[in-house]
């Protein structure tokens, strides 16, 4: 239908356009993964920002590698576009159905649609999508199994990560409430020179998952090293799963807990990547100066041991342990200066 001299330019144009379309999918996968990490559905992975001015331009090295391997395997395994075509379509129609189902609830909550109105709208879309899905399900055996198997595996990973973190939280030994801890430090301060706790120079920042308890690393440091810094900051970094962005003014909540103890609760939205420099900046604005390179960052690390304790099925606990081992550690994820980090590990039975 086009003149023959136009063939090569057309192929070039077609290739350019397919690359652009593929790019949209790859960027979409990065974005989806970042949301998943921040919402606690996907194990932590390194997220890099590739552009200073465009917030959403991100790059996730591990995912990029996985996608490349997956793509190459498909090209080699299926060998031709028409063979691959039969693998295509089932996943997207199922995702559309899932979106419709969630939309039924979102519309009622967001826009106060009546259940009838939301139901009718979703029934319209759902019925078209159901026909598309039924049509696509005809090719499950010729290739459509691939996205289903891949999806099932990823679903398993995501659900295990999400449930595992809940189990982990519940399995952590109950920490000493911070107020009690500070009260005991304050009492120790009144003891005579000989028994007084040594307070060393500088600032220690403790990453604390629980904003009310005393971090394990802080207690261990006193127990084993008899060291307590002059200034101690207990930092909890929270990703707000319900907001994409948190305004800079609401970034950090700083409270002075006396005896040289400060508590910072820093919030980020699910489209933001938490960065220690941003926390330091926000704390500085509230009058708490932290010198990045004169501070020691204490990071707790949980070493998981699978036991018979109730929680998840044992094989899922093993999977969760494996995922934890391979997820990026908190120090790197929050961009703590590597030579200022002190890791303190703790055995947790799940």
């Amino acid at each position: 239908m086009a003149p023959s001299w136009a063939l090569y330019p057309l192929i070039a144009l077609a290739t350019a356009a397919t690359i652009i379309a593929s790019q949209a999918l790859i960027s979409g996968a990065f974005s989806l993964t970042m949301q998943g990490i921040q919402m606690g559905y996907v194990p932590r992975m390194e997220i890099r920002h590739t552009s200073q001015d465009e917030h959403g331009q991100i790059y996730i090295p591990k995912l990029n590698f996985i996608l490349f391997i997956g793509c190459s395997a498909l090209v080699i395994g299926f060998g031709s576009a028409s063979a691959l075509a039969s693998a295509y379509g089932i996943a997207v129609t199922l995702t559309m159905l899932a979106t419709t189902a969630i939309f039924f609830f979102a519309a009622q909550r967001l826009w106060q649609w009546s259940p009838l109105r939301a139901g009718l709208t979703c029934a319209l879309f759902g019925s078209i999508e159901a026909v598309f899905f039924a049509a696509n399900s005809l090719k499950i055996f010729s290739g459509g199994w691939f996205p289903l198997v891949a999806g099932a595996f990823i679903f398993l990973v995501m659900m295990t990560w999400k449930d595992g973190r809940t189990v982990l939280r519940q399995s952590l030994p109950p920490g000493l409430p911070l107020d009690d801890f500070i009260a005991s430090i304050s009492m120790a301060g009144t003891l005579d020179e000989h028994h007084k706790l040594h307070r060393s120079q500088g600032t220690a920042v403790f990453l604390a998952g629980n904003p009310n308890g005393t971090p394990n690393a802080l207690i261990k440091n006193i127990k084993h090293n008899q060291i307590l810094h002059r200034q101690n900051i207990l930092l909890t970094i929270i990703t707000d799963p319900n907001r994409a962005y948190v305004p800079a003014a609401e970034r950090a909540e700083v409270s002075d807990r006396t005896e040289g103890f400060f508590r910072i609760v820093a919030s980020f939205g699910f489209m933001e990547t938490p960065h220690i420099d941003e926390v330091i900046r926000a704390a500085g604005e509230q009058g708490l100066a932290i010198h990045r390179d004169k501070t020691t960052f204490f990071v707790g690390k949980e070493r998981l041991v699978v036991t018979d304790k109730p929680g998840m099925a044992k094989w899922r606990e093993h999977l969760f342990t494996l995922l934890s081992k391979h997820s990026e550690n908190a120090a790197d994820f929050f961009h703590l200066p590597p030579d200022r980090v002190y890791e303190v590990s703790q055995v947790v039975e799940i």
């Binding site: 590698f65 995702t95 049509a135």
Partner: protein, 257 residues
């Protein structure tokens, strides 16, 4: 990402239809109408007009929608919420499958286009495709702003080309415009239920050029096929009627599943 996929799988239903029997002009127009209206409803009405409005500070995607429908930490979260969260995570998981298939199939099909030019290229198609994919994934770490800059121009060129060719062929057989009437699609659906199912499966079934033999039909079929972009290197969003790519792009840097 969802609507990104829809247009990527262009309207290559016709080869399928040919295999399952498409005889009269009315049937061809019915199939066209079915495709146009089902995709129009899903892409334009569902995603662009409704679902995208439910964004979270401008961020869309199934997980963002999930957090809007069932805010985490809400006291009211019950069993239904737990079930729907599983549904949402399943939807997100499935997107990765398509996320891997799309680059593989689109680059492969574009490279296969070289077969039209040189038959001898055949043994090199897979290695060449792997090379292009390796390049595509290698540049990700550098940021993809450059690809983004090219996006507008390349897509504009592509859509204009399709529009020109489409209009030329419509001019040959204006009767194909009846396909714009939803009645024709409904008529086809009610009279050819099983075939309609197969047709709709094919909408998500990206096929490509290389069907010249099959298309040496005549009359409206050729027109319809050409209109749908068959007989042409396969491309994302080959139907200029679909607003998908154009709308999808501005959000793309932050676009999501």
């Amino acid at each position: 990402m969802v609507y990104g996929d829809i247009g990527t799988s262009v309207l290559y239903a016709f080869k399928e239809c040919l295999e399952h029997g498409l005889h009269t002009d009315r049937e061809i127009i019915g199939v066209l109408s079915l495709i146009i209206w089902s995709l129009f409803t899903l892409v334009s009405v569902k995603y662009l007009a409704i679902v995208m409005r439910a964004d979270n500070q401008g961020e869309g995607g199934i997980l963002a929608l999930l957090s809007l429908a069932f805010p985490q930490d809400a006291k009211t979260r019950g069993l239904a919420a737990g079930g729907m969260i599983a549904v949402g995570i399943a939807g997100a998981s499935l997107l990765y499958g398509d996320g891997v298939i799309t680059p593989a199939i689109s680059v492969l099909s574009a490279v296969e286009g070289l077969k039209l030019a040189t038959a001898g290229i055949k043994p090199f198609i897979v290695p060449l495709t792997l090379g292009i994919l390796a390049g595509l994934f290698a540049v990700q770490s550098k940021g993809t702003g450059a690809i983004g800059k090219w996006f507008g121009g390349v897509m504009l060129l592509w859509f204009s080309l399709l529009a020109v060719l489409g209009v030329m062929h419509i001019a040959d057989h204006p009767s194909v415009l009846w396909a714009l009437s939803p009645y024709e699609g409904l008529h086809y659906l009610t009279h050819h239920g099983k075939a309609a199912l197969i047709v709709m499966g094919s909408v998500f079934f990206p096929r490509r050029h290389g069907r010249r033999g099959a298309l040496r039909g005549h009359g409206p079929f050729r027109t319809a096929a050409h209109l749908a972009g068959v007989d042409f290197p396969r491309l994302p969003g080959a139907d200029p009627k679909l607003p998908r790519a154009g709308r999808a792009r501005p959000r793309q840097p932050r676009g999501t599943g």
